[in-house]
Symmetry: C2
Subunit: 199 residues, 2 copies
């Protein structure tokens, strides 16, 4: 399979994204040029442009890759064992710790996220939507199992997501880092109380 033309193309795209991500972490995403990426890969800039029409497309692809890792981890938890309450807590915890590793510890990647939020890159909305879908699925399963009171699962998931925005939103995470309380676990206890009681 990996010898077919589409597979080779896909492999090339992946290598470009990986290299770009590494350079973004080292140099910052605004300072990294297409030439830098091409040089690292020992290819011509024209060859990079065969896969990505503009530098912006590379930026978006790197952002999608990073957010995709968080989505994949959340999907795995959602499909895994445990009560709906346990899985909900684990998704928010994992989102918080993975975002902290990626965007907070790494100031250079945080700069990219900051621009993505300010310029409203479409990938940001898509990521929020995807995470929302995962939360909705767990909430619906919790209602089905009798763990949570019956209500519109989409609305209840959006309420949990909004209530937990401090632990998911990279810019807020930086802004709120001096406010140690409430922790994401305390917020989850609060949300679970509302989900169980119903409204």
């Amino acid at each position: 399979m990996s010898d077919t033309a589409p597979a080779r193309e896909k492999d090339q795209r992946c290598r470009i994204i990986e290299t770009a991500e590494r350079l973004f972490r080292q140099l910052g995403f605004q300072k990294t040029t297409v030439s830098d990426i091409a040089r690292e890969l020992r290819m011509s800039p024209a060859n990079v442009y065969r896969f990505f029409g503009t530098k912006s497309e590379i930026n978006e692809a790197v952002a999608r890759q990073i957010m995709g890792e968080i989505e994949a981890a959340a999907e795995k938890i959602a499909s895994g064992p445990g009560t709906a309450a346990e899985r909900l807590r684990q998704v928010i915890r994992t989102n918080e710790s993975m975002s902290a590793e990626r965007y907070i510890a790494d100031r250079k990647l945080h700069d990219m996220v900051d621009v993505a939020l300010t310029e409203k890159w479409p990938i940001v909305d898509a990521h929020v939507e995807h995470m929302g879908t995962i939360l909705t699925r767990i909430v619906a399963e919790g209602m089905e199992a009798g763990e949570f009171a019956r209500h519109d699962p989409l609305l209840m998931a959006r309420l949990v997501h909004s209530a937990c925005i401090r632990y998911c939103h990279p810019r807020l995470m930086v802004e709120c880092c001096d406010y140690t309380e409430p922790s994401s676990d305390q917020m989850m206890d609060f949300c679970l109380a509302a989900l169980k009681a119903g409204m």
Copy 2:
């Protein structure tokens, strides 16, 4: 009283702040100079500097004035009639509508808030703290009256405040304006369910 020297001084300070706020709305806070403010008041820049050592002090005083209006409205609701649940809802609603008028409808004032958040002006923390104190008081009264389950009122108020951050935080309000759901009323229903059930 208004003829005494301290009262005249206070009056002068107020006039400077009012004029600065008006110019900030017209010209933007970064484009407004101390000379502009002095000219409007038919006084010398040196006279303005008698009251405010730097332009930054004027900026902070204007921000304090605007946030103070929101705090005063919240205090009035907290001390007014109604159940704790009703007052809590009203404080968040009022915070949302007053912030929208001040920071969202008026893009020039929003620029100031944006800088205040980025540069972490101390007035921002003081405002969050003050709003938190008001919420804590209402939550404590609700527990006292048997409306809410007994728990640490400070923690529960912080949870409500964090859960409602989307409706209080000027930058998030702009960022989330395309997400119509959940509304602040829906979020308040959710928070009240948790407060009543306890955790």
